[in-house]
Amino acid sequence: MALLEIRNITRRFGSLEAVKDVTLDIEAGEFFTLLGPSGCGKTTILRMIAGFDAPDAGELYLDGRPLAGMPPEKRPVHTVFQSYALFPHLTVAGNIAFPLEMAGRSRDEIRRRTTETLALVHLEDKGDAFPHELSGGQKQRVALARGLVNKPRLLLLDEPLGALDAKLRERMQGELIALQREVGVTFVFVTHAQQEALALSHRIAVMNEGRIEQLDVPEALYSTPKNRFVADFIGTINLIAAAVVEASRHGLRLAAPGLGEIAAPVHGAVAVGSNGALAIRPEHLRISGHADRAGLKNHFAGAVVEYLFLGDVTVYKVRLDNGLLLEALATNAGPGRARFHEIGDRVSVEWRHDAGVFLPD
């Protein structure tokens, strides 16, 4: 039995359906992420788990017990808020002790667990400080410590890294993973930042307009997105419009207007004749100076229109002769050289016949 079972929940705000018939299971010990653009319903689901909101239809079960009608304070679920929501009139230690006091723990236990948890988030020397005296990263850690100290069954995190600068966010990502592994509490994380989701999660539910578009492990979401929304939302992807000419268990033969034939791998059943697009990641494309190789299998001629040198990699934008613009990633692993093609160069864009995924319309 899953730790948290969400069964067919729907939530309406006036005429807007924020969450539409969502069903999902969250397993104990998991780092689970709800990922999607703002307004996709992810925060509404979080609030229903916490008890600040209730579904109009459907049920939530925690450890097999229905959560309906149970107020937030009775749920063994704690939240790390986007704004941290630290109590400004209490010290760091006071903030962390708060859930223990509410749970009626003994003074000794409160003191011991507060000290332990302060150490867990590396804030041993900040116990007597007030929230306004802390940096953003430190507030973040206090909020985490406060959420974890009373060992909830679930810790909900509502875009907790959103307010931090890029460098600090990266460091906190590392700390979050380590912390979750150490305490073993199930995390339900909400974010709109796909890279953050990929880096942190065991499983991700990609949401759009109140529905789950795809629920999978990060690697699978990235390599085999189920539809255009997921393909587009996670990472960068090239979409090449094509129709299926032949399908066998070895692969697909696609016809792309203006390009010709493309060989592609099979992921699930597709009917011959169906229209769609081949979705292929920039790092799966290779570009070479041999424009004359066009005509070989999955080789197409074009010209470089733009490139972005990013240090470790260079992103090239190539316009194929049929007008399609593709993005290709070249790693700068060779010694000394980091640039291989100039704007206007005639190049060949190539990829393996088992790269990419065909997404029917």
Binding site: A50, G51, F52, P71, P72, E73, V77, H78, T79, F81, Q82, S83, A85, L86, F87, P88, H89, F98, P99, M102, A103, R146, G147, N150
Partner: protein
């Protein structure tokens, strides 16, 4: 430089306009002369004389009692109203609570008098004064408490619930400690308003009970004696102290509500 000079001059003139008359009252309360005409010499005998004036002492005692009771009740009710205004944004409550603040005092005085006499058929006295004072102070407390709450991150109240606090404990452990400065400032404001209110009290006091401002008024109907100066000085000192205290407790909320 020139602009600086004129700003200073205007500032000084404003302060002079406000405080010179008050200073004169204070000064003459120490003047050793029956007449408020010229400085004769320093004395504190007018203050001593106050202690012998039984009517004045009785009026002062009434005023203190009314101020303490009315501001305590107004603070409790006003705090509740302030929280309700902030949390539920009820459509009618702002009118009920804030109208007495904005209404001309004379109107409030007349309407309370009519209400107490014609509608309730009440004998005017301590109770009617208390009710009137609670009515006009309550709004100020509500404004200050609401301003205090408006400056806070809403999610801390949800966080308290989330971390295991019942609604009542959320109030006692989080909401109340955070609005205490506003409550204290509101109490001091009501106390100040109550102790020096003249207009409304004048209408609802009746004949039995008199307050300090009413007593001062009846004294100056005869003449502005040095005793009036002395009692005015004491009242002024009390009021200024309370205002200073209120500002100290909740400077930002008072500024916001002003």
């Amino acid at each position: 430089m020139k602009r600086g000079f004129w700003l200073w001059a205007a500032g000084l003139a404003t302060y002079a306009f406000l405080y010179v008359p008050l200073a004169v009252v204070v000064l003459f309360s120490f003047n050793d002369s029956e007449l408020n005409a010229s400085w004769v010499g320093f004395t504190t005998r007018w203050y001593g004389k106050l202690l012998g004036d039984a009517d004045l002492l009785q009026a002062a005692a009434n005023s203190l009692l009314i101020a303490i009771v009315s501001s305590t009740i107004a603070t409790v009710l006003g705090t509740m109203a302030g929280i309700a205004l902030h949390r539920w944004r009820p459509p009618l409550l702002p009118f009920l609570v804030l109208t007495p603040v904005a209404m001309p005092e004379i109107l409030l005085g007349v309407s309370l008098l009519l209400f107490f006499r014609q509608v309730l058929d009440l004998t005017l006295g301590l109770f009617s004064i208390l009710a009137a004072h609670i009515t006009f102070s309550l709004g100020f407390v509500a404004i200050i408490v609401r301003a205090r709450l408006a400056g806070m991150d809403e999610s801390i109240f949800e966080a308290a619930r989330d971390l295991g606090a019942t609604p009542w404990r959320t109030f006692t452990r989080v909401t109340f400690p955070l609005i205490v400065p506003g409550i204290v400032a509101g109490f001091l404001m009501s106390f100040t308003l109550s102790i020096d209110d003249f207009v409304i009290t004048f209408f609802v006091a009746g004949v039995g009970v008199t307050t300090l401002p009413l007593q001062i008024y009846s004294l100056i109907k005869v003449a502005v004696t040095p005793e009036v100066n002395a009692i005015s000085t004491l009242l002024m000192a009390l009021t200024l102290t309370l205002i200073a205290l209120a500002l100290r407790f909740a400077p930002e909320t008072l500024r916001k509500s002003a």
